[in-house]
Symmetry: C2
């Protein structure tokens, strides 16, 4: 089965010029078909502050009123996406930058929540697998901004981790998919204060044990639960680790690799 | 020869919600393969004012320092491009929004000028005809933002009229190309104060006469000179007229049609 590498990078790399440069060089060198999903980082928050548009975060999600949607569309789909594309092009990587609206790549609906009005935040309904295949087979590297649409002309601010996961599971029927989450930490750690205590691989059985022992907790828990859910849906492996060791993550000599264990 | 319709819309339509809605509906209904090139309108200027970044225009061109490039990338490639794409998607038009960096669509170089430093303004070197053909043949309607790149990771602010013209001439070898410039005026007018005095068609011979008589002058002159240059390079027709009569422009019952006269 042909391989596809899907990598999610967040603000910690996008906001750090040196890290971003090194990461994009490593990304451009990946020989396999590849997709980059990027988050937004601090730039949207900074622009909102400059424009005096108050921002409210709930559980790490940005409440997205109309003014904030305009900001994230500008920052994510305009500034960040196009700069990443131009930099990859300069590295001989034929990148094409898309939102979920382009070619109807990702359909979503506005989040429904019993008590919180998230505004223009999207939860994903479907991924256009045929479009991804078409572009991957034409040897494009796809750079996805965390903006989707509801097919009724409404753009929606959408979590980049979730986009990466939904793209990974959508492609799992057609490719051998590796899903890589780049992260501040070197991987899943036995001791959260010791970057050398990386757990090299985790199966669902081991995950259950680590949870029971309280070694995996807090912010890492939902991340790993999502990752194992992706594995259940056919993704071959999920890798968590640092951006500066991308080749080592891909060959399994750094970071934490989650597998279905079967 | 298969037909391609290339339409350029500027700020007068983008800034006017009602006009934009009507135009996008008419665009979505065009049966032929089609490309929309959009300008920026007042939004970039407004955002620059809000952020207190002074703007300088010389002959209608925006001097583009680094802060201004960020603004136009955000506004053109993010906000405007993605909203147009989402709206076309809601009208069952399978739009995909691109800058010149995406898929290396448009290569440019930073403008060289003996006395004026335009900053990050791009003059076009080449258009990726194969990419356009690939996307048009896959039945995408392409929405192009006026941002290009120099292949060395630098985005460049580029005139949308010129982008439309360069795309038109690049495609002229492969398709019957119509290039439409949407405009405040109903077409080229015998009397600039009378919207009913449209000149229905102009050949290069007639253009020379109208110039000699002083009927065509000022801002219209370079526009028409560029249009006749596109016709010389194989574009079948250039049409100038109002957005609210797009079907009539396309069937020749409104606006001014420029032809090579042969």
């Amino acid at each position: 089965m042909e391989q596809v590498i899907i990598i999610k990078v967040g603000g910690n790399i996008i906001d750090d010029e040196q890290q971003l440069t090194a990461f994009l060089q490593a990304f451009a060198h990946i020989a396999e078909k590849k997709i980059l999903v990027h988050g937004g980082g601090k730039l949207a928050t900074q622009l909102a502050a400059q424009l005096q548009i108050p921002q409210q975060m709930i559980d790490g999600r940005r409440i997205t009123d109309a003014a904030t949607l305009k900001i994230v569309s500008m920052v994510y789909a305009g500034h960040i996406n196009k700069n990443i594309v131009a930099r990859l092009q300069s590295l001989q990587c034929n990148a094409i930058g898309l939102t979920g609206a382009d070619g109807n790549l990702i359909q979503a609906h506005q989040r429904i929540h019993p008590t919180i009005d998230y505004g223009f935040v999207g939860d994903i309904d479907s991924v256009n697998t045929a479009l991804l295949q078409q572009l991957l087979n034409a040897n494009f590297s796809i750079v996805v901004a965390p903006i989707t649409h509801n097919t009724q002309a409404q753009l929606l601010n959408t979590n980049a981790d979730t986009i990466a996961q939904e793209i990974a599971t959508a492609l799992a029927k057609h490719y051998g998919v590796s899903l890589i989450y780049l992260f501040e930490k070197a991987g899943v750690l036995m001791d959260v204060h010791n970057d050398d205590s990386i757990i090299a691989s985790i199966t669902p059985q081991q995950f259950a044990q680590l949870k029971a022992q309280g070694i995996i907790a807090d912010g890492m828990l939902p991340k790993l639960e999502n990752a194992f859910s992706a594995l259940q849906k056919g993704v071959q492996r999920v890798i968590i680790g640092k951006a500066n060791v991308l080749p080592e993550l891909l060959n399994g000599t750094s970071g934490t690799t989650l597998t279905s264990g079967t």
